[in-house]
Structure formats: C-alpha cells, structure tokens
Symmetry: C2
C-alpha cells in the first residue's frame, strides 16, 4: 500500500512554539522527534520507503529532507510534492493520486496517534473496504470534545460502516449527544483507492479536476482554484464513503489545550515540556519552556516560553492564540515567521545578539554542506570555529580552520564557508557594519540554486 503524508499546515494555533518557517510538525516536541518524523514512522508500518509520498508547501522542502535524513529514511525525491501555496487537502491529494495509482493511506503529519493493534487492524479493514469506498477513520471519543468534527456511522459493512453524515464541530450539548449516539471523531486519516478518488473528484469537483487536466504545472492555476478540504469537497457529497472505527489515543494537537491532554501529568495535573518547573500551589498547568519556570498559586494555565515570545493563556482559551498571530501578521512582525533560529539547506543559524552595528550568530553547517559563494556590501564578518573543521575560501585563498582558529572577511570580499568533515561544524560569526539584514548578500554560486 502507498502512503501520502500531508505535511502542510502553519500551526498558527501553536504560536509561539510554531512559526511559519518552522511549523508545528517539524518541531522536535517529543523526545527529540518531530510529529512529521513520527508520521513517517507510522507510514513505514504500511508502506516501503519508495511507496511513501509527501505533499507540503515548498518552503518546507529542507525540513522534510532533514527529518528523513535524521531517521535514515530515503524517500525518492520525485515522491515529494511541493506546492507553491496552500489550497487545503483536496487539491493536494488529487495532485498526487492522479498520477500514482493504487491504494493510499492518507496521514496528516501534525497529529498525535498512539500505534496499537487496534490501529493496525483498522488499516487492514480499511484496505478491504477501499475496493468500493473512500474510507475515513473515526476515532472512538473519550469525551464530548467540541474541537473536532464527528462522523455518524450508518449501515454495518463488516469491519466498517457506511458514513451517514459528517457533523461540524458541535457545541458541548450536541457533542454529548453525538458521543452517546456512537458518533466518531473525524481523524483526518483516510484510505483511498486512487481510481475511486479520481472518479469522485471528476464528478463532484469538476473545476478542480479540469484545472489539473488542462495545465502542465501548478504555478499556472494553483492560485485560481478554491482552497477546499477533501471532507467538504468530496466526502460530504459522495455516496461511496465508509468509516472504520479506531480505538486509539489520538489528538489533532490543534491547540495547546490538546497538547496538554496527551502529555503525561504529575499528581497535581501539571504537564511540562522542557526543564521541570517549580510549582508552588499550582495545578493543571501546561508549561512549555527552555529555562526555569516557577508558578505560584495558579491553575489551568498554558505557559509557552520561547526565546523571543512568551504566551500565558487560560486553558480552554488557547484557540484565541490565532488572534495574536493575526495581530502580529498584520503588523508584519517577523516573530510570526521566524524563531531566532533559522533553518537553511546547509544547516541553521541562531541569532544570539543584535546591537547597533553588530549581530552575532551561531552557525551550524552539516557534514559535507557549504554556504553559497557570496559577498556582502555593508558588513564585514569574523568567524571563530568552535567545533568541527571549516574550509574557508576568501579573497582567492583556501584555509582549513580548527576550533579556536578564526578569520576575518572584509565587506565586499567573495567568500565561502564549508564543512568538509564528518561532524557538524559550529562557527560563531560576528557581523559588523551599517546594514546587517539578510538581504545584503550577492550569491555567485550556490549548491541549492539560490543565485
């Protein structure tokens, strides 16, 4: 069976943890693994590496490649589909399934799922049903959650049910009715036979179907088609939809509240990611941090501390985090876009400090990678190697630098920084000049085509 991983999603409800250039699915939240990596591992239960596909925004290309490399998983480059912009799930799935035939497990990359026998059995049952149906997976509810859509199961098909109806996110009293009536949470996971999917797409969303047929590349039409989910565009209208129940621990991690739900809690109901907080007279709080956090006399809070932004929210109100995101977006505040650590094809850098006329970065270059051959017109740079070996090209000369060694690149001089070794290269760069923005760079040659 093939698997398609949907790796889009900006994670705006998990700001400040999630930023546009490093969204929720790529953050190493759980034991040094990202949600995308955990989804990759789940995909391998069903498919061989060459049978795994990924669709995501093109900005996430290197996040995807890095996460795969970390796990030593090689997915063929041609299986990675990079959209120019987000059009929700329907166009993304159609793009992949129209040129690759077979049965596809469709997995969102930013959910939490605990794999169990029940999980695997559900996929087996779904595989059989997918001969005749587009199959959804419905999670057995653990509570009347108001943040999920629900699926009303109908006629028993053996291993699954016809879907009678899809229900929008309910208020609390409706949610209780749904749970009592045996409705299931819509998990966002599917199993589609490409043949049936294409038929239904042609029939139910002909304009999108035709748009794909009529054009060579997505650029030509992708911003003209509607943003539409596969649930809304096909599943709610088709008469060939089945649901297979799944009794597993699951969360869409769509809010900090849901993150709190799936984390382990101590005897006071407190959960934490990062250094263990000091909690005095405090209960039922979530603390996500990277330094010492002390709470006194507080309950039901979500505290998320990052290098450049802190969120303190009442539990249950974390959906309103979107408003912060919108406020900052409207002001073009770069703190929605970027953490103080930025990822590049060759590795990453963290801005340690900025002052008038200077900026200090810690640069990490992965083994075998190098920056572009470049120059800056407004700044000079000092490099001090702190770990690994650097090959430096500057002003026509090549040098090897070891930890403790340094070099100076005057403004205007052509230079290149490379890691020829087997371990990460770490360099402290001090920039000095009148203009220190990232756009003061002229690339003459680049391994990643960015000239």
């Amino acid at each position: 069976m093939k698997t398609l991983i949907l790796a889009g999603g900006k994670g705006t409800r998990l700001w400040p943890l999630s930023r546009e250039l490093m969204p929720k699915q790529f953050i190493k939240i759980f034991d040094g693994s990202s949600l995308f990596q955990k989804t990759l591992q789940r995909a391998l239960i069903l498919s061989k590496p060459e049978e795994i596909f990924v669709v995501a925004n093109r900005e996430y290309k290197f996040r995807i490649i890095d996460d795969m490399r970390d796990l030593n998983i090689e997915i063929p480059k041609e299986n990675i589909y990079l959209e120019p912009r987000a059009r929700s799930t329907l166009p993304a799935i159609l793009w992949v399934l129209r040129t690759n035939s077979g049965k596809f497990a469709i997995l969102p990359s930013d959910h939490f799922v605990e794999v169990s026998e029940d999980y695997k059995n559900a996929f087996r049952a779904a595989e059989r049903l997918s001969e005749n149906f587009l199959v959804t997976f419905g999670i057995k509810p653990t509570k009347p959650h108001t943040g999920y859509g629900y699926i009303k199961p109908g006629k028993d098909l053996g291993g699954g049910f016809i879907v009678d109806e899809f229900k929008e996110k309910p208020d609390l009293s409706k949610a209780k009715e749904f749970v009592e009536s045996g409705y299931l949470w819509n998990s966002g996971m599917f199993l589609f036979d490409s043949r049936i999917f294409i038929e239904e797409a042609k029939k139910l969303t002909p304009e999108i179907f035709e748009a794909f047929e009529a054009h060579e590349s997505l650029e030509e039409f992708y911003d003209k088609i509607p943003e539409i989910s596969v649930d809304y565009g096909i599943l709610e209208k088709s008469n060939k939809v089945a649901v297979v129940p799944m009794d597993v621990k699951w969360s869409d991690l769509g809010s900090f509240d849901s993150l709190y739900e799936i984390l382990a809690k101590d005897e006071f109901g407190n959960a934490a990611i990062g250094e263990k907080p000091i909690a005095i007279n405090s209960k039922n709080n979530l603390v996500v941090g990277q330094k010492l956090v002390a709470t006194v006399g507080v309950e039901n809070l979500i505290i998320v501390d990052t290098e450049d932004a802190l969120l303190v929210s009442k539990r249950g109100e974390s959906e309103r985090v979107r408003e912060i995101y919108k406020t900052l977006s409207a002001k073009n505040d770069k703190r929605v876009v970027i953490h103080r650590t930025a990822f590049r094809p060759w590795g990453s850098y963290t801005v340690l400090e900025e002052g008038e006329r200077y900026k200090i970065k810690r640069i990490t270059i992965k083994p075998g990678k190098r920056l572009s051959l470049q120059r800056h017109y407004h700044r000079s740079e000092h490099w001090v190697v702190v770990k690994g070996t650097a090959r430096v090209y500057s002003d026509g000369k090549k040098t090897l630098l070891r930890p403790g060694e340094s070099t100076f690149i005057p403004a205007g001089v052509l230079h290149r920084l490379e890691n020829p070794g087997k371990v990460d290269l770490e360099v402290i760069e001090t920039q000095i000049g009148e203009y220190l923005e990232e756009d003061d760079i002229e690339r003459i040659e680049d391994d990643y085509g960015r000239e």
Copy 2:
C-alpha cells in the same frame, strides 16, 4: 541635615527580577533609574552630597559607586559604610551615627515614594520634633494593607504625635480597624538626632552598643551580635518616639503585588514594565518582561520574565516567591545569585551563549576603566570590538582596536583590555578551551586590588 541611606536588602521577594549580586534597589526599574538612585535624589532634597551617608553590604560597593556616577553625584568615599554581613537596621544605623553627630534622615533605598509638598513638610516638622524624640514617619493608609506594620498615634505634639504603639502586620479585619482608628503605615523612614539615638541604644540594646565600643573593626564582632531591626530593638521600647504623618504615594515594593499597586494601569487594569504586552481578554495583570508577552483570558497574574527564569504567580500570592528562592538556594542554584549579566568594577558582561568548550560574552567597559593584567591557563580568547576603542596589551605589545577589528589571546599569555576613550567600549569575547569558569584567572596587577 544629614541623610543615611540604608542600601542593604537582597530583594528575595522580587526574584527573578532581583538577584543576590544585583538586588532590587539597583535594578533600573523606572525610566532607566534604580530605586537607589531615586533615593539619592530624595536625599539631596535634605542634604548636600557631603552630608549623605550610605550603609550596605560590601558586595554592593560598585553598584553604589556606579549609580552615583550615573547621576554625577559625588559622595565622599568615607561616607560609604560597607558591612561584611547583614545584621538588619539597628547595628547599621548605630555604626554610622555613633561617629557622625547631627540629625539624620534615615531612608530605605528600596522603597517607592512620591515626593510632594506634604513629603517636604513632614521632614520639616520631624526636624523640629527630633530635638526631643526619635521620629518615625507614618504614611496615611489608602487601604487596609496586611503587609505593613502600623503606628498608633497618641498625644498631639503639634506637627506630629507621640507614638502610643507599634502594631505588627495585621490580618484583614484588624487592618480595617487600624485604618478606621487613624493608625498609620510604618514607612521605615526616620529622623534621628544621633545624640538621642546613641542614648537609647546604650540603654535599650546595651550588648550591641558595647560590642561597637569594644572593637576596632566590624569583622571582629559583627557575626556575633543579633540581627535586629531598629523598630524592634529601640523604637518599640523607647518612650521618646514620635510619629509625623505623611500623606504621599508610597510602597515598600516588598512584593510584585506592591509593584503592581504603584504602576500606571491601562483601562483593563493591566500594568507592564518592558515591551507592551498583547492582552486578549486579560485584566489586572502585571507583566515585567524584556520580550513579547501575550496573555489570553487571564486575570490577576504576575508574570516576570527574565533571561534565565520566568515567574507566573497569582496576584496576592507573590509573598510565596520566597519559597522559590529558598528552594533554589538550597540547591546552590546560581540563578538566585546572578543574572546572565554580571557587574564588575570596570563595567559588566553578559553571557550570550555557552556550549561545550566555548563561551561568548558581550563585555562593556566604562570610559577610563580597564580589566586587570591577567592570564588564563585553560582558555584562549578572541576579542572583536563592536563599539568604542580598545587598548589591548598582549604578549608585550600594545594595540588600539576600532569597531570591526579583532585580536586573539592564546591561553597562558598575559593580557589587558582597556577603554581609553570617552564612550563605553563594547567587545564580543569568544572563549575557547577545556575549562571556562571565571576562576581560571591569574591577576598580576589590578586597579581594584583583586590580585
């Protein structure tokens, strides 16, 4: 009139804002001024610079000198009394008043007081009464505060009253009675004629009085005498105590709750020091920070964010912050002692980043100051000048470095860094080596006697 400023106090209830090596009175909380500086300015209303005295822990010597320099105030060095350890207010005051005669205004350095005509009139009235009394200042209460001691005024003396009784911090119902009965908050400010004070000290706390008489230096006896406040040791027992009422905005700033009380608040009751927070559906919160803070759906919180520690406390519970301080102290956690910025006689440094085998600091050296002539055995150092001009002595040679210029000091080499100019010198120092602690330093020569 003379003024004695009591500048001790570790500010443990204002952790993490306040740290042992940089306590509350020296932090630039209000418009770039510290509470100590504001107290200095109040002292100048009553006294000329040569009539101002300061008593504090010896660790705060350079904080005091720096704060005075910032304001261009020169207090004679001999007026600065540095205790080897804290013994509370009685021994501190006695130490100064026994060898300097006259009337002394006694001012705590870590309180907030709004200077007004009423403030000045109160000191005039107190000066007259101090001929015959030890005078305290009682603040007219604005509410039944349970965090302050109260003073019960008795017979009217004209301009002040005999003190009938001192009352301990009351519970709420007692506080209400006190306020209704016209009791006053004990402000911790006094006006003492040294003659009367010494008489009363000799009579009421003879063992402390005698200890001073019997020894040349404090070292010999200071850890053997009891820690005792002037209120408890003398004022509550003497029959020569008067109180002058003062109707001013005042707070002992003994907790974040009291900081909240004196700060300006917006229409939602929110107060902030630092970048203006984003507040969604949030009321009556205090945010003290240095980066973006967003609050959602929360009320009555105290949020204090510093580089290496975050406090989130319910308002009204901030007295329990002491427990955090104790927990960390017991573990010898250096976060009670030091911020990431450490102050030195020549200026300061901030640790920007520490890794395995490297440490990066931003060093600021004040005009005309220099570090010691020193060497390190386990680390080499790179200096890049980012602002100002550096005079570098290294391995027998002197150089001047301008912004953008750098030098390298190998381990073991004798070196010295100096600011010969008129503006602050800022240098980025990258240390590399197997051992990077502050104690790997051999000082050959030092302007501050630290060899």
